[in-house]
């Protein structure tokens, strides 16, 4: 079954067409990669799906709990509640908050309290809060960050921040996660660990993973299917093996004959 479908999406910035009539489908439970040369419009695709941008044309169909929804009918902050969560290319953490609080923000939609219950600590508060805290500690333990729970997020090294952002996404109990360059700034051994982690996350939490990545090693290792885009247009969609031997993709990355 298809989890996410992008149909004929077009996003323009003034005269520049950043995403041009793009269509692809993401299979449920798969790890799906979106690759392309610099400036191909990958992050724009992400931002359009998660409603930070308004695409001019097209549809983004998400299948969740048996029903089909067009994400373009929703606002940015409603997306998380539909079971779609994302990370950012430049790690966006809540720096002045602790690691644990960062995680708990991820559970924002799952903690059903209002300010009166919170302010006066009315019955029901403790249970809901503790559920979220227990879950946060489980995920931190899973990611190996348990010891850092009470430290500030912006005092953590880059690798930890990346993991924390991943953990925060898991807190929102998503069905599909969108990762914007999860391996950026990591060395080879860290990237290897990340690919293991992503596979583990997919199996443990029953997720669909959709990632944008520059690191070809990672993409070719773990992705079940890949779509390649250039200048906002889809060049081809296929398995890593098909992509590797495709002359069109090589042309997009390395340039065509006429440019030499």
């Amino acid at each position: 079954m298809k989890k996410l479908e992008v149909k004929n999406m077009t996003k323009r910035f003034g005269g520049l067409v950043a995403v041009d009539d793009l269509s692809f489908k993401v299979e449920e439970g798969s790890i799906f990669g979106l690759i392309g040369p610099n400036g191909a419009g990958k992050t724009t695709v992400f931002n359009s799906i998660t409603r930070f941008y308004n695409p001019e044309e097209g549809e983004v169909i998400l299948r969740t709990k048996g029903s089909k929804i067009d994400l373009l009918d929703y606002k940015t902050h409603q997306i998380a509640d539909l079971g779609l969560a994302r990370t950012f290319q430049n790690v966006e953490l809540f720096g002045k908050m602790t690691v644990l609080d960062n995680m708990l923000v991820g559970a924002h939609n799952n903690i059903k309290t209002n300010f009166l219950i919170e302010g006066f600590r009315l019955p029901g508060f403790k249970k809901k809060e503790n559920q979220a805290k227990t879950k946060a500690m489980e995920i931190l333990n899973f990611l190996g960050l348990k010891k850092l729970a009470h430290q500030f997020a912006d005092s953590q090294p880059y690798g930890v921040q990346k993991l924390l952002e991943l953990g925060r996404v898991l807190m929102s109990e998503p069905e599909i996660i969108l990762l914007d360059e999860p391996a950026a700034g990591m060395n080879d051994s860290e990237t290897d660990k990340l690919s293991d982690l992503l596979l583990k996350i997919r199996d443990e939490y029953n997720l669909t993973v959709f990632l944008v990545e520059h690191d070809m090693g990672l993409v070719m290792d773990i992705c079940d299917e890949i779509v390649v885009i250039n200048f906002g247009k889809s060049i081809m969609q296929g398995t890593p093996k098909e992509i590797q031997v495709s002359p069109e993709v090589q042309e997009a990355y390395l340039g065509g004959d006429d440019e030499f």
């Binding site: 902050h77 997306i79 950012f88 809540f94 923000v105 919170e118 508060f125």
Partner: protein
């Protein structure tokens, strides 16, 4: 040892202990007349300015939104208290709550403005409100009694009249502690986390399902409510409300309290309020320096510069990190910093 452990592990403990000590002091004072009545009046000022600073800190320290027009809400709360108790004769509690709720509605309207503006532009726009409001209060005679100022009688709860300012100090302190506990609880739960998240990264907050629209309005509404309540306490304490009190200077004083005391900290808010009330008074008694006119503004400005330069986290937080937390860690052999704010 067990005592320190209790202190560190139970976040309420320090507030409850603080309030018990305070109430005991005030009771002894009631019997023996420990403080001069001037000191009692200053303490009342500290109490209502603490409520103001906590409200302002929710906005600036936690939610990261700025307003330089918050004196308007305090003035509005004070005038509402005078108006309601003079014309409708409602008791203390309904009056003070109404004096918080009505400014809250205007706070929401200011929040709608804040959705469109950010940072410096928001500061400029709200400063405009702060400057204008003084003149609005002067001209709006049927509500504010214009230049002559509004007067009101002593507060009364269930037939008990607070004729003595020492009694009123006790009452306002109880209100302050309710405000502190409510705020503390709120900050350490979903709403508070959402406000801080919005301050640190708007994009990530939205991606996690936080509606910036909703939480900006909540921040402005809450802070206007607190400041309105503080205005009401002001009116009951001074029993005279004059338009020139609510100028831009007061809004800037609120900013100074929060910055000097400590951003995003309840203790810092109270410290800042205490600083701004007591320090100018103490200096006024000094020879030579005390004779300079407007010495309080000079001092506030100087203190702000020094705090920003040498302890940007604020006096309270600086003291907390430097002395109190290392003390706990040493005593309890903790390897992580404790405490919550």
């Amino acid at each position: 040892m067990a005592f320190f452990k209790l202190f560190n592990n139970n976040p309420y403990f320090k507030y409850i202990l603080g309030s018990i000590i305070f109430v005991i002091i005030v009771f002894i004072d009631l019997q023996l007349g420990l403080f001069a009545s001037r000191t009692v009046n200053l303490l009342i000022r500290v109490v209502y300015f603490s409520v103001v600073a906590i409200g302002f800190n929710i906005l600036l320290g936690y939610a990261g939104q700025i307003s330089l027009g918050h004196a308007a809400f305090m003035g509005f709360g004070a005038y509402l208290t005078a108006f309601i108790s003079n014309n409708y004769g409602l008791g203390f509690l309904p009056t003070i709550i109404l004096s918080g709720l009505i400014p809250m509605v205007f706070g929401v309207i200011l929040g709608l403005v804040a959705l469109r503006l950010e940072r410096l532009y928001l500061a400029i726009a709200t400063l405009g409100i702060g400057v204008t409001i003084e003149f609005v209060f002067r001209e709006w005679v049927w509500f504010t009694n214009g230049f002559s100022g509004a007067r009101l009688s002593r507060p009364e709860i269930f037939g008990f009249a607070f004729n003595n300012s020492r009694h009123f100090l006790l009452l306002s302190t109880i209100i302050l502690f309710i405000v502190i506990l409510f705020t503390y609880n709120l900050i350490n739960s979903k709403t508070g986390r959402a406000l801080s998240a919005m301050r640190d990264s708007g994009h990530a907050a939205q991606a996690m399902g936080i509606s910036l629209f909703k939480y900006k309005l909540i921040a402005f509404a809450l802070s206007a409510f607190y400041v309105g309540i503080a205005g009401s306490l002001y009116a009951y304490a001074e029993r005279y409300v004059h338009p020139s009190t609510w100028g831009a200077e007061l809004s800037l004083d609120m900013l100074a309290m929060v910055v000097i005391g400590g951003l995003a900290s309840i203790g810092g808010s109270v410290t800042g309020a205490g600083f701004l009330v007591f320090v100018p008074r103490l200096v006024q008694d000094l020879p030579l320096i005390g004779e300079i006119t407007n010495i309080n503004f000079i001092l506030t400005g100087l203190a702000m510069i020094l705090v920003i330069r040498f302890m940007p986290i604020g006096i309270y937080n600086w003291f907390d990190y430097k002395f109190i937390q290392p003390f706990y860690i040493k005593r309890l052999n903790l390897n992580k910093p404790g405490g919550d704010d």
